[in-house]
Amino acid sequence: MKEIDYLAPSSLGEAYAALQTGKTSAFLAGGTDIIVQLREGRKQVDQLIDVKHIPELVSYKWTDDGGLEIGAAVPFAEIYGDAEIVHRLPCLIDCATLVGGIQIQSRACFGGNIGNSGPAADTIPALIALGATLTVGSADGLRDIRLEEFFTGPGQNVLGSGELIVKVNIPPQPANSGSFFHRFIPRNEMDIAVVNVGARLDLDSNGERIEGARISVGAVAPTPLYVAAAGDALVGEAPTDEAFARAADIAADAATPITDMRGSIAQRVHLTRVLTNRALNEALARSRED
């Protein structure tokens, strides 16, 4: 690794100041991506800013209206170790428990996974399905961004050079709502997604009619996709196999994947359909749980 400076600011203000020095920077939270990228020469910066000493980034809390705000650097293991989150937001647990192995989950975090902006990132389709927003901060203050509007290309996003991701906000979920995140990998752990899908279904009080739906697909385009049309097609429908199949077809049509060592175009389009279908069925089942 090239020589590098290391800073560990203890407040957002200090972090913003570090971003103003004219040096190129990267953030260090879990380190599971950035340290490897720097070591392998895939990225080069003057300084690493360790954000784990900034209180806002390493804590999480429920909001009064039932939403969840997660500091960008809270490790996944802390999230899935919280019984209330496991109970109330199982979709979040779906993704948090399958990023890498246990060693990765001890350190890796939502802010890192989002900031890294990989097209196949495992937490993103789950968070998009849940309707998450990001709060990013800079010396000018804080601003909120809808997650599906954050990504601009592989490894690229709208974050300005003076900004950092402060927290991820998951809005309160409606009463008869269920969400599920589904990933396909060749092994059972430790792989990058060939395709991953997050799906949310909001049903009416009888559970017979879909009132809202959100579907997001990863690893099939330069950025994680929010396929609004697939969700919209379900609104007003009964949660039937036929309706899910139509939504899955729309999701598959939206996929524009590439062929690489992790999968082929044909396989990924096919899997988009299969996984969307499965995720919708699982989301439906969850919507009927307490």
Partner: protein, 754 residues
């Protein structure tokens, strides 16, 4: 299960704690990268970014001038060596090919091919210096598979290479086919013409890696007296020494190779990569130099095993296999020496086949030079043959195990080499699977299937030597020279304890360096417990004999009157006169001085190993994922010295085979770059991908070994590829002929995706 009565052993067949165990579970064991030496500096290796290119020039001057840099070397720093063949134990290479593989000469032949080495005060400086080395390449088109490489108009890796043909002559035209070997017997044409059923298919496999967890390393100290000391993780310290002697033109006696603990090898840690570079960097810098590979280097620049193309045709008449015609073309990588010949000789060996024609092509391609990998060549070749056998059994309406049994080779059956099998245990192994709970339990449920396959491996003998030093307190130091990769210190100490009739705990085994014990061939070919075990037995007999003489001296009688029984010396006719091993060991000063036993063998009677595997799978036909539901392996091991480690070898081999069958492959871009050179994307099985692996130990003792030992380690990787393919065929009705049978391949073939 034991199929043959065996003697009542006291130590052999028990499960003691291995001698090196505590050091390994506490982190104290020293592997190659763990040593530190006074003045040690670190190095790095510059590697080719191209799969095929001519080196126009190398300019190292800027790198040499960088701060912290102590030495820079290229191929020009290596002596010119001959085409002399170097037998490394598993696979033969020439000195000049090996030298050019260590550091590229006029051409780079694969991406990752070493071009230059740097030593610097720390590894970060060494890595920075690599960027300052200027290499001008003339990039050439690469050839990346055997079919392309065999075309007449293919780009040639070496314009001066001609094919060694079956007659022994060289071909007229230069070629990427280094050798074509043929085995023929009987009348194939007539047998095919008369057959009831003939099946014929083509198969393809990809290059795969052994995947040991410890990367290669090499540390060298070129002393000012012209002697060289090398610390390395190797399967064969003596092979390293002899190869270094050839490559560096140093007398053997001036080189001392110290084998460190080795973090896995499976055949891949026999060849030399870093050791010669570390040696010349040390000579130039005057400092001890340590080189280690990163994981990408390990994938791109060591010795995986061949992928290849195979075509097979087998005939059956009246339920009997009557003819086989098989053509195998294997990738050798950048230099000749694929295991295609071994694959050809193994694949039909479980069966009696009277009429056969087998062609084997050794083909160079722009990929790393292959090395041995567990039963080299046999798994790929069996992927072809064992699927054809499965198809023949199905078409005959026969149970696949019964079909194998009725066609099984037995004592006296001739292999395609013409050599007759001695006492072998294939039939017993098939029967063990037939009577297993697994086979007796039907498989049920949609998209589930069951497959079986047999496998054969020769097992190797070769040379071993050991020393047994008897201590005055009745303990024994066993000095041996076989690298211990998976528990052979235990299995050798156990054999010495058994021979001497004393407790296992009294034997302390040590793997010594090349100055401290006689020659030992590599730990490979499943030979160590067998051949070094034989040397241990010889050493034990030597100790016994010397003790008999000493007891005779004590008792003032003839040696004929003394016998060695169960760890004691007894006078045959005077029951008052007995002395235990420990008591006599304590009287060394009075009975003639230090007592040391020696054993040296050129082991020539290895017992062949057969394994039969049974696997149940479930295929998710929508995603293409194959789950291994249950796996049972039965194997004839001769005699299981330490059953736990025998089981471990079987389970480990199976799991490597499962990886090879389902996900592992070198995935190349068109430019010849391996795109998945990380553990993330190479996808070896994790604990979560597997069930427990059930083992059935079959013991048909090898008559050529004092305790009946056959080799164990290699044959377990032979059957899984075909067994799994057969199970998937059973589950889906589709026969997969190309590896890996990855989810991508499964969905693409089952759903006809383009």
């Amino acid at each position: 299960m034991t199929t043959t009565e065996k003697p009542d052993y006291k130590v052999v067949g028990t499960r003691p704690i291995r001698p090196d165990g505590v050091e390994k579970v506490t982190g104290k064991a020293l592997y190659g990268a763990d040593i530190n030496l006074p003045g040690l500096v670190h190095g790095a290796v510059l590697r080719s970014p191209h799969a095929h290119a001519r080196i126009v020039s190398i300019d190292t001057s800027a790198a040499q001038a960088m701060p912290g840099v102590l030495a820079v070397v290229t191929h020009a720093d290596l002596p010119v060596v001959s085409d002399k063949a170097l037998d490394m134990g598993e696979g033969i290479s020439t000195a000049s090919d090996m030298s050019k593989n260590v550091l590229a000469a006029d051409k780079v032949l694969y991406r990752g091919h070493a071009v230059a080495g740097v030593a610097a005060t720390n590894v970060h400086d060494a890595l920075s210096a690599l960027e300052a080395i200027k290499v001008e390449y003339e990039v050439l088109p690469p050839v990346l598979n055997v079919q392309d490489a065999m075309r007449e108009d293919a780009p040639l890796l070496d314009d001066s290479r001609h094919t060694k043909t079956p007659t022994g002559d060289l071909s007229d035209n230069a070629s990427n086919i280094a050798a074509h070997t043929r085995f023929e017997g009987g009348d194939v044409e007539a047998a095919f013409a008369a057959a009831d059923i003939v099946v014929e298919r083509e198969f393809d496999t990809k290059m795969v890696h052994q995947g040991y967890i410890e990367p290669h390393n090499g540390t060298a100290n070129w002393n000012s007296d012209g002697t060289l000391t090398v610390w390395t993780s190797t399967q064969g310290a003596f092979a390293v020494r002899s190869a270094l002697s050839e490559l560096l033109k140093l007398p053997v006696s001036r080189i001392r190779v110290i084998p460190m603990e080795i973090g896995g090898g499976f055949g891949g840690k026999i060849g030399l990569y870093l050791e010669p570079i570390a040696a010349i960097l040390s000579r130039k810098s005057g400092r001890p130099v340590q080189l280690t590979m990163d994981r990408t280097d390990v994938f791109q620049a060591t010795g995986p095993t061949s992928g290849g193309h195979m075509k097979g045709k087998i005939a059956v008449k009246d339920g009997k296999i009557t003819a086989a015609e098989v053509s195998l073309a294997f990738e050798a990588g950048a230099f000749p020496g694929s295991p295609v010949g071994a694959g050809a000789m193994c694949m039909l060996s479980p069966y009696e086949v009277e009429n056969f024609k087998v062609d084997a092509f050794d083909v160079v391609v722009n990929k790393p030079k292959v090395a041995a990998y567990r039963a080299p060549g046999a798994p790929n070749a069996s992927f072809c043959v064992e699927q054809l056998i499965d198809e023949l059994a199905r078409e005959s309406g026969a149970d696949p195990l019964q079909f194998r049994l009725s066609n099984s080779a037995r004592e006296g059956s001739r292999m395609i080499t013409g050599v007759a099998h001695p006492r072998i245990g294939h039939e017993e192994t098939v029967q063990a699977v037939q009577s297993s709970d697994h086979y007796q339990s039907p498989i049920e449920g949609p998209n589930r299937g069951r497959g079986v396959a047999s496998g054969f491996w020769f097992n190797a003998g070769m040379q071993s030597s050991v020393i047994a030093s008897v201590n005055p307190d009745g303990t024994v130091n066993l000095i041996e020279g076989s690298t211990d990769i998976g528990g052979t210190r235990a299995s050798l100490a156990m054999q010495l304890a058994e021979t001497l009739g004393i407790e296992y705990e009294r034997i302390r085994p040590t793997v010594a360096d090349t100055d401290s014990v006689g020659h030992n061939d590599v730990t490979g070919g499943s030979r160590t417990t067998y051949a070094s075990g034989q040397a241990v037995y010889e050493a034990g007999l030597d100790v016994q004999q010397q003790m008999v003489s000493r007891a005779a001296k004590l008792w003032e009688c003839e040696t004929e009157d003394v016998e060695y029984v169960d760890g004691s010396l007894r006078h045959k006719s005077d029951s008052e006169k007995t002395i235990t091993f420990a008591e006599l060991a304590g009287k060394q000063m009075e009975t003639g001085g230090p007592l040391q036993g020696r054993g040296t063998v050129m082991a020539r009677t290895p017992g062949a190993a057969f394994g039969v595997h049974l696997v149940d799978v479930e295929v998710d036909t929508e995603t293409g994922k194959v789950e291994i539901l249950r796996y049972t392996i039965a194997q004839d091991v001769g005699t299981a010295v330490h059953p736990s480690y025998v089981e471990g070898q079987m389970q480990g081999g199976v799991v490597q085979g499962i990886g090879w069958a389902l996900n592992e492959e070198y995935y190349y871009g068109e430019d010849g770059r391996m795109e998945n050179s990380s553990f993330l994307d190479y996808r070896m099985p994790t604990s979560l991908d597997l069930p427990m692996i059930d083992t059935i130990i079959v013991e048909v003792p090898n008559p050529g070994h004092p305790f009946g030992v056959r080799g164990v380690g290699e044959v377990p990787i032979v059957p899984p590829l075909a067994a799994i393919a057969n199970a998937i065929n059973d589950a889906t009705g589709h026969r997969f002929t190309e590896l890996p049978i990855s989810p991508r391949r499964v969905v693409e073939e089952l759903h006809n995706l383009q």
